[in-house]
Subunit: 375 residues, 4 copies
Amino acid sequence: MGNPLGIGLIGTGYMGKTHALAYRNVHAVMGDLPAIRLRTLCDTPQDKAAAMAAQFGFEHSSDDWRSLLNDPGIDIVSVTTPNQLHKEMALELIAAGKHVWCEKPMALTLADAIEMEVAARKAGVLTLTGYNYVKNPVFKLAQDLIADGVIGTPVHFRGWVDEDYQADPDLPWTWRARIKDAGLGTLGDLGCHLVSMAYGLLGPIESLIGDMQTVHVTRPMPDGQGHGQVENEDTASALVRFANGVQGSIATSRSAWGRKNRLAFEVHGTKGMICFDQERMNELQLYENSGPKSQQGFKTILAGPEHAPYGNFCPAAGHQLGFNDLKVIEAAELLTAIKEGRAAYPDFTAALEFEKVIHAIAESARSGARVTIEG
Amino acid sequence: MGNPLGIGLIGTGYMGKTHALAYRNVHAVMGDLPAIRLRTLCDTPQDKAAAMAAQFGFEHSSDDWRSLLNDPGIDIVSVTTPNQLHKEMALELIAAGKHVWCEKPMALTLADAIEMEVAARKAGVLTLTGYNYVKNPVFKLAQDLIADGVIGTPVHFRGWVDEDYQADPDLPWTWRARIKDAGLGTLGDLGCHLVSMAYGLLGPIESLIGDMQTVHVTRPMPDGQGHGQVENEDTASALVRFANGVQGSIATSRSAWGRKNRLAFEVHGTKGMICFDQERMNELQLYENSGPKSQQGFKTILAGPEHAPYGNFCPAAGHQLGFNDLKVIEAAELLTAIKEGRAAYPDFTAALEFEKVIHAIAESARSGARVTIEG
Amino acid sequence: MGNPLGIGLIGTGYMGKTHALAYRNVHAVMGDLPAIRLRTLCDTPQDKAAAMAAQFGFEHSSDDWRSLLNDPGIDIVSVTTPNQLHKEMALELIAAGKHVWCEKPMALTLADAIEMEVAARKAGVLTLTGYNYVKNPVFKLAQDLIADGVIGTPVHFRGWVDEDYQADPDLPWTWRARIKDAGLGTLGDLGCHLVSMAYGLLGPIESLIGDMQTVHVTRPMPDGQGHGQVENEDTASALVRFANGVQGSIATSRSAWGRKNRLAFEVHGTKGMICFDQERMNELQLYENSGPKSQQGFKTILAGPEHAPYGNFCPAAGHQLGFNDLKVIEAAELLTAIKEGRAAYPDFTAALEFEKVIHAIAESARSGARVTIEG
Amino acid sequence: MGNPLGIGLIGTGYMGKTHALAYRNVHAVMGDLPAIRLRTLCDTPQDKAAAMAAQFGFEHSSDDWRSLLNDPGIDIVSVTTPNQLHKEMALELIAAGKHVWCEKPMALTLADAIEMEVAARKAGVLTLTGYNYVKNPVFKLAQDLIADGVIGTPVHFRGWVDEDYQADPDLPWTWRARIKDAGLGTLGDLGCHLVSMAYGLLGPIESLIGDMQTVHVTRPMPDGQGHGQVENEDTASALVRFANGVQGSIATSRSAWGRKNRLAFEVHGTKGMICFDQERMNELQLYENSGPKSQQGFKTILAGPEHAPYGNFCPAAGHQLGFNDLKVIEAAELLTAIKEGRAAYPDFTAALEFEKVIHAIAESARSGARVTIEG
């Protein structure tokens, strides 16, 4: 098997922890995969890096992520830092020949994302972007049901992704409100996840018309001195046309009280319908126009071992996977791709397509005109 | 009290029956209202009219709806015929000085609806259009919650109205597929109901961008000879801006397998959210950002006697109203308006505003440009 | 057809109104049934009776229900008075040869119910008891699914019926708390409805063990002077064995906060399961062990025209019946039985079987021993 | 901190894997806890043990679990073998001074469980039993809501736990059907989990009356030669009385088609109600009798960081924990108890109380008499 692949992880926050847990669990859950060692954890300051390395089980810690670049013991690096740092890190890691597992969105601007994609493609390193929701066994079931014609030919799509972390008008202003630092608002945080699902279900979006709004246009400054401007969008919506001819709509809000992770979609087909809501991530709704009319209805399918790789986590249906388990499946995808010498999905090339869409929505919202997505 | 108001009813189908039942029940349910008598039921042929008059309890029957025009015993006429007949009937009835309760949509074209509205306004007769869903006590609760600030200031709206009566690609072609005979497709059948709710919650829509699609572009001819063209839309969607500054989206499909009456909306506010789905018409979802964070969640409120006029039907919460009960509330609105000498809601003037929106969606879908709704 | 059947109605409260509405609507909804006339409405005092007769559309009113006994124009009498009055009224009405539609429970004691059943049977008049929930088209669907073997052979049953009208400990004492006046507590108000459904699904219960409890043992007297004793049960539960060998459990509470009409059941079969909840009375849940394992799940079937007689109310699925519509179906059963010269269901004979069960639960709860239901 | 605690794990099946994952993750998730090393994994045959040790990250493997007894490097042993092996293993491990984390039920018979509890108590080792569902942050929320009086004083309890792994009548006979090998049926597999929740919510059950049934009394032998007898119960139900005066009912089935992990309960209180269903393990339903009547309803609370230790897994509400995460919380309880020098919960002493109840239900079902649980 050769030496274990050395893992570097940059960032120990929300996503950093999920990556660490994924690396810790992926072999125990999945079995036969290339061996790894948790080599270096990077964060600042150093004592935080050291403490988290101990907690997460990394051998080393560093307050200098660039120390990973020239470390021959590092093969894969997870980038889980704030979005504005992704580009610089990814480019240097790619240049150093490391495989990169980068959280989404890839970058603040489309130009940056394109630069990253080009660099990765040229360097021949493997990349993976953190579109974890498409790793849900229940999402795979939705894809299979479509592929198998269970709902016939898709004819319409609707999707939403809402949270409420910016719903409170009294929340203080942060750098997240500044386009220079944060890029897009809800489109970058949430909207791109929905696009990844739409693509997984129906393929590329060809064109769209969008609208967006900053609901809370100013926020109180944290120091209590006046109000700061919120530059990026709280809500965004678009009417989309897929390349396969299907029409639909997508919408996102970060100011939707009560929604905690409502990433939901409907696929309407000529023979049935599929519905999903991430807040009940272990369930899929399926309607089929078959059997006696008097007995037709939406079925609630509970995730179970028939929906791979659920069974690797638990042999009993209805016992449920959690959010962190999706990252384990992502990690397995990365290691499997390395093992098989193929691209991981979604790599920077695939992710770039998703991110084109969110930037196109913003562009259309500003111009008022239909925007065509260039493939 | 004077003589009872004489009722004429044109049409004995789906909606005709609901009007008949509403007239039969409205006094028993509501109590103090102007007296009525079920005078004349019109349908063709005469023997059908006679049979249904016997069933519904009308004194007379006729196969000539114009017989109502000069009958001084007729004060109110319900028009429940196919949509293409509404205009002619309404105009003549208005000219004859009758109050008119007309099913929605008012007419096939906006020009026709405008003509009807102008005629009614000039004649001074009372009109009511069959936007029954805004009569739901639970919808009134939603309006009250917004008015009382329970969800703060509304900031976003989403609405959908879907059914599956045109979902089966193998259904034969009918006149409903021809614009000349049927006007709009799902926008006219379903979409205008959603607009009536949006207006009831957030007031007028100022402008919109729309898209629409005929999903099943041809249908087999009933005689088995080839296929006929479907001219009007199976799905339609729009990004809307309300006059009050709120943005949102609305969408409708008549080809959505499994949806039987999914007329649903979300109103996002600065302090909470309201959600509703007509398929569970006795429930309202309410999220409030108040109390301990650990105890926040969407509440499912069951309709009950606190939600007038539910208590007129049943003194016990959770026992549920049905679709036909909404028409009783409509009938009560009409009779109350007559009693109080005021306009009924929604009369032709209000309904015209709803119907402008569906035509604007179609117009925008054809042109690709934003359409401003003229007030 | 002969003369219309003359209707007498005693009581104008909650149930009185539902009977009045049912009589008003039954022909318009159902069509071909024996004609009726709403002849006499009885309540006290006379002015209330007169006012309600006007509202409900009865020809006459009376403050003396016995005036119905010798009125040859009265054929059917609805008894919707408080339960302690049912027996006296029913016996005299039966003796006078009237058909009787009596609300449930038949009487305060089993002895009284037996006396009523015997009298009705001997007199040969037609009776109907107000077990409205078994008239739901969705309940009929459940029965059909079982009869057709869709869930295989039933193997287990669970049922609950809960409301919260006695959940508040601060509600004042009323006569309803006194056994002499009110008989059983939640078993009589709610429990017997559940038994009617259990019988409709699985046939007779053979034996049971029960337990019960008065949760709020005293209540403040309405005059503010001390507390009165609550003599009857707030909750009751039983482990039951059906004659067909199926075991199960049933439970009821009138002190269950948040439950407004939660009359719910599960039937477990060898091939599937059926679940129902009256708070969503237009839905039935069905699980079938068939098709691919990966696609199995509980289906939510929405009531529609395939579920007779839903289509008599509305031709479109998902539009929903309400509570009052169930009484229309009851009225149709009564008139159809008269027309066909057969017993109505559930008549006093059938209802007596239901009510034996609730008395058996109370008996078992007191004795601690298993009680066999005598057929 | 001294040396890391050495972990031994016996069994690599369903539960063995969950223990392995829990040990792997607990520090990374929870932070400050005594250090551990995954020392020895035991299973048979040896090559399986070795393969799973590699997969799970254990240093050693063995096909002889007794090798753990005299290994001074082993401090804690997880027993995840079939139930009939628990007693022998636990007794020897306890005698060897090891802490024991044993899956539930403790043993096939109450006598065996008592013997285990006495041994552990005398030896002074720490024990933990695998009642994972009481570790759910949402269950802790339910406990807190009761303790804080949010639903007032509890007055009634209902619980169910159903799965369908024995629902198919055609499943072949296994040793699980033989009392000698498997002990109780659904009561041992599922029922005891429900009891653990009932105790966590309302304290000890004082007495009960039970009933039970073997639904599928024979099953085809795996070799196709005739049928074998199923000796233990497929369903069981009981009417219970808690020591605090609350009455209620509990029921379980392993033959309930469609139920995958329906471990559900309702706690009725004087001011509100709490409902839970493990199939939606990240949700709690709460009804409070407070605020305007017109706005009351059941709230669906989504698990989030306010519900410790959810936040250790994920800082964002609504993102969901999975089944395996509950075992991480269990592992943390064990290590925390060791660190703090206190008993873990639920240890053998607590678990014995739960298991008394399931044996009491079986006893009562056989005798027909009420059984008092001896404390």
